[in-house]
Amino acid sequence: MLASLLSATLQGLDGRPIRVEVDVAPGLPGFTIVGLADTALQEARERVRGAIRNSGYEYPPRRITVNLAPADMRKSGASLDLAMALGILVGSEQVRANGRWAVLGELSLGGELRPVPGLLPMVAALARRHVRRVLVPVEGADESRLAGGIDVVPAATLAEAALVVRESSRGRRRNRPPRVEMAAEVGDETEMLQVGVAREDAGPDLAEVRGQLEGRRALELALAGGHCMVMVGPPGSGKTLLARTVPGLLPPLDDEEARVATVIASVAGSTQIRGLVRRRPFRAPHHTISYAAMVGGGPRMSPGEVTLANDGVLFLDELPEFDRATLEALRQPLEDGYVAIARVGRAAVFPSRFQLIAAMNPCPCGHAGEGDGRCRCRPSVADRYAARISGPVRDRIDLWVHMPRVRAQEYVGATAPEGSASVARRIAESRERQIERGGCCNSRLTGRALRAACAFGPAEQDHAIRLAEMEGWSARGIERLLRVARTAADLDGSVRVEAAHLDEAARFRSPSSRRSEFAAVV
């Protein structure tokens, strides 16, 4: 007998509805899956067989053919396990079912249902196909309900799933799960939960960072305006510590951003999702990261770090140690806010609007500029080290800050530095001002909007030109100066960009190899 169920797989960040047709026919016992299934899917045969046997059903000793439609699409993942198992049970007439059911979930050999990555987009895709009810693993129920517009019925095991399907087919509404809330309603309840989570991995408080006035100020500017930032300093100067305070300083995501972030978190599948993800992501991959892990791709077209850091911060410690190709691959996402990945027969576009924060040593030994003669790197070696970050990537970085070694008296000094709470408040307020004025944060303003936003008087205009001339800046350099100055003014609550804001922004200009002790003379 032929059974036909609806399920879904993941392609990129989108769910794709898949019709699973199971034919249980007389003939030599066997189990064939057709329809461009990948290895994980082929292995479903063993999981399905075990799950059926261990759930108290009989695995039919007949010729089983599973067809996955559409046939020309490559399918991967274990999300179709439950559909195949139920299809076999229906096809062998052990379970009677009909109605427009969609089922999603991976099976264990014991018959338990396991959540799969990307439940949320898959359920959302089914909802768009006007499927009324979807059966999902219990752990994925909260996540699936975020999609909205579809009844989500949780099940813990294959047997329970079979029961749910059978009951509904008989029209007996016993145990019918309550109609679930829509996404927006779930949001509030779970946000409280998220705060709890946020507190525990918000990283160290900013008050832990001793000294580093310049670094702290640069970080505040960067987070307020969404600017990319690079910290340069000797080992142990607190670059990494400062970066780790970022999660506690970032304002929460707005509704639209949260929706995208939740889908990405769902596809990444690393944590259980209980509600809309409101925390800005903070990703800190190690410098040995591969190209595909950074931009996405791989056999299953998984999102990379740039996508996982979407609308949040990508922190790259020891920037010059990253693979050159990996760093170059950051160019498109930095420029366009998305990354388009194409493989033979498949393509995916992932959002990747992240803010880059990086740390590096000034030279291979790390001690250049400490003024105590400890660094023995030749000047050309330090230049070459810095040159590992290519011009195009360098161009996207608005803030460069040098972080000198912290002195002992600063470390043990009595004055407590400002904590995260007040800085976070300033950052949030400044962002609000930016959104109100331009609809986006300063780092994403177009050149024209930026100039308009600066609202320069003639005096400030002259001052900006003088600052630009001082180091022979390019047009791009001047734009960076204005951007950062605009953010400094926003932190100040100033409508116009004043000369002092420009001066402050100029402190964080890109270090040029042409500078020398002579810069001060002419």
Binding site: G211, Q212, L213, E214, R216, R217, V232, G233, P362, A368, G369, E370, G371, D372, G373, R374, C375, R376, R378, P379, V401, H402, M403, P404, V406, R407, E410, G413, R466, L467, E469, M470, A488, D492, A499, A500, H501, L502, D503, E504, A506, R507, P511, S513, R514, R515, S516, E517, F518, A519, A520, V521, V522
Partner: protein, 499 residues
């Protein structure tokens, strides 16, 4: 000034008031005795010395053998050039010390060779002789001979390049050739000079050199010593390298006084590139940038020790500010002693890696190497006279010319003008900047140090630092800020403070 010829006009931006006057005088005097012979002979020198691998020794031997550089080139232009050249050199080098008949342009060179050979068995000449005699073969390698012949065709290029760069060529025969350098062993036959030739022949000339990786203190000391010596009336000679050399040059240029930079390579391949602007400013301030090698020669490992002998050779005394154990500055100091010049070193703590070389040198040469224990003391030891008097003379006129000539590129001219003291500069600043400047005078600082010293808010410190930097009063790298320009402590103040 006879015999010194300027090959083409200086580019307009490099012409400062003083240089214009000097250049036009030279051009006039040259026009007065327009001598195509001498000019083409000079071109021939340039052509020959641009041949890679052809050094002073072979050059001297070739001149001795054939009478003039033009004769060498003529011979090289013949079909069997290389062989002819080798043969000629083998033949004449043997009886070089006896002398042949020298053409007029070579007379000085010839005379010099003879004088040196006669006075003492000096290394250069002996080397030629022994190689030619005892080896029983030509002193000229086959490769080199071939390269010389090839250069005849390319000859015009080197000459053209000299002309287009606006360089002045000074040959060993010219009366304008620096007398100090003429006295060293194996002086360079040619000097390519950008800027004023007069400052090479200044009555007092002191080399200030040191490591390329100085400490903050070393950088500061280099500035003090450079500006102190310059104001005391000496021309400061150094190597244009990053670190101590650059700091010394920059301090002198900041005073608007003359300094001489000796390049390790050629003018067209200025090294380090980071100091291109410094080189321009040196020329604009009435100083000179000098190279021994043809403009196209890249600086390399081997050219720097060779350059160092010029640095010490152009100076009456050499001051090493900071030097690591294996610093090239110690080579310069060694050359100074060898050339019979004085040698001063700034001692440092015994655990300081940047002073280890100085300390070791002082230990190795007791009685020869001398200690710098303060800038006034150094000036006294060097017999330079009173600092303030000297600064009042030439310095002001050049400085005024510089100030008048340099476009106002954002910096307040009053801050850079010579004569305006630190007090005047401080008075011209706004209250926040003044507070910050006063805090910076207490020594190099990070932004945190400044916050601790001034209790100004962070954002205010950062903007004020930019303003001070715009005015040339602060210089910073890697998050540490040092006072510069008029904020950098004057050696006199330092001295007074202690006593």
């Amino acid at each position: 000034m006879l015999g010194v010829q300027s090959l083409g006009p200086l580019p307009p931006r490099r012409i400062a008031e003083g240089v214009v006057g000097e250049t036009s005088r030279v051009v006039e005097s040259v026009r007065a005795r327009e001598d195509t012979e001498a000019s083409s002979e000079r071109d021939a020198w340039v052509t020959l010395l641009a041949v890679p691998g052809l050094g002073p020794i072979t050059f001297a031997a070739l001149l001795a053998a054939l009478g003039s550089a033009r004769a060498v080139l003529n011979l090289a232009a013949q079909p069997a050039g290389p062989a002819c050249l080798r043969e000629a050199l083998a033949g004449v080098a043997m009886d070089a010390p006896d002398g042949g008949d020298g053409g007029a342009p070579v007379a000085g060179m010839r005379g010099h060779l003879e004088a040196e050979a006669g006075e003492a068995p000096s290394a250069g000449i002996v080397a030629i002789d022994s190689r030619a005699r005892h080896g029983g073969r030509s002193a000229l390698g086959a490769d080199l001979a071939r390269r010389i012949c090839e250069s005849v065709e390319l000859g015009a290029r080197a000459v053209e390049q000299v002309r287009s760069l606006g360089l002045t060529v000074v040959t060993l025969d010219d009366p304008g050739y620096p007398e100090r350098l003429r006295r060293v062993e194996m002086p360079p036959p040619l000097l390519f000079v950008r800027g004023s030739i007069d400052c090479l022949a200044a009555s007092h000339s002191i080399a200030v050199v040191g490591t390329r990786w100085p400490s903050d203190k070393g950088r500061l000391f280099a500035g003090w010593i450079g500006s102190g010596l310059a104001r005391a009336g000496a021309v400061v000679v150094s190597g244009l390298a990053v670190g101590i050399d650059g700091a010394a040059h920059a301090a002198v240029v900041g005073e608007g006084l003359a300094t001489v930079a000796v390049l390790g390579g050629g003018h067209a391949r200025l090294f380090p590139r980071a100091h291109e602007r410094l080189a321009d400013a040196i020329v604009a301030a009435g100083g000179a940038v000098v190279a021994e090698l043809a403009p196209d020669t890249p600086a390399s490992r081997g050219t720097f020790p060779r350059r160092n002998r010029l640095v010490s050779g152009l100076a009456d005394a050499t001051v090493v500010v900071e030097a690591g154990r294996r610093s090239g500055a110690l080579i310069t100091a060694g050359w100074a002693l060898e050339q019979g010049r004085e040698c001063f070193l700034v001692p440092g703590p015994m655990d300081s890696p940047t002073s280890a070389g100085c300390n070791a040198f002082l230990r190795s040469f007791p009685g020869q190497a001398r200690v710098v224990c303060g800038v006034p003391e150094l000036i006294e030891d060097l017999d330079l006279g009173c600092a303030e008097d000297a600064a009042g003379g030439a310095g002001d006129s050049v400085g005024a010319a510089l100030a008048a000539n340099s476009p106002d590129s954002g910096g307040a001219p009053s801050a850079n003008a010579v004569g305006a003291g630190r007090g005047a500069v401080l008075a011209s600043l706004g209250p926040v900047e003044r507070t910050l400047a006063e805090a910076l005078v207490r020594g190099p600082a990070t932004a945190d140090d400044l916050a601790a010293r001034t209790s100004l808010p962070g954002a205010a410190i950062l903007s004020a630092l930019t303003l001070l930097e715009l005015r040339g009063l602060v210089t910073g790298s890697y998050g540490r800020y040092c006072p510069a320009g008029h904020l950098a402590r004057r050696p006199e103040d330092h001295h007074r403070g202690r006593t």
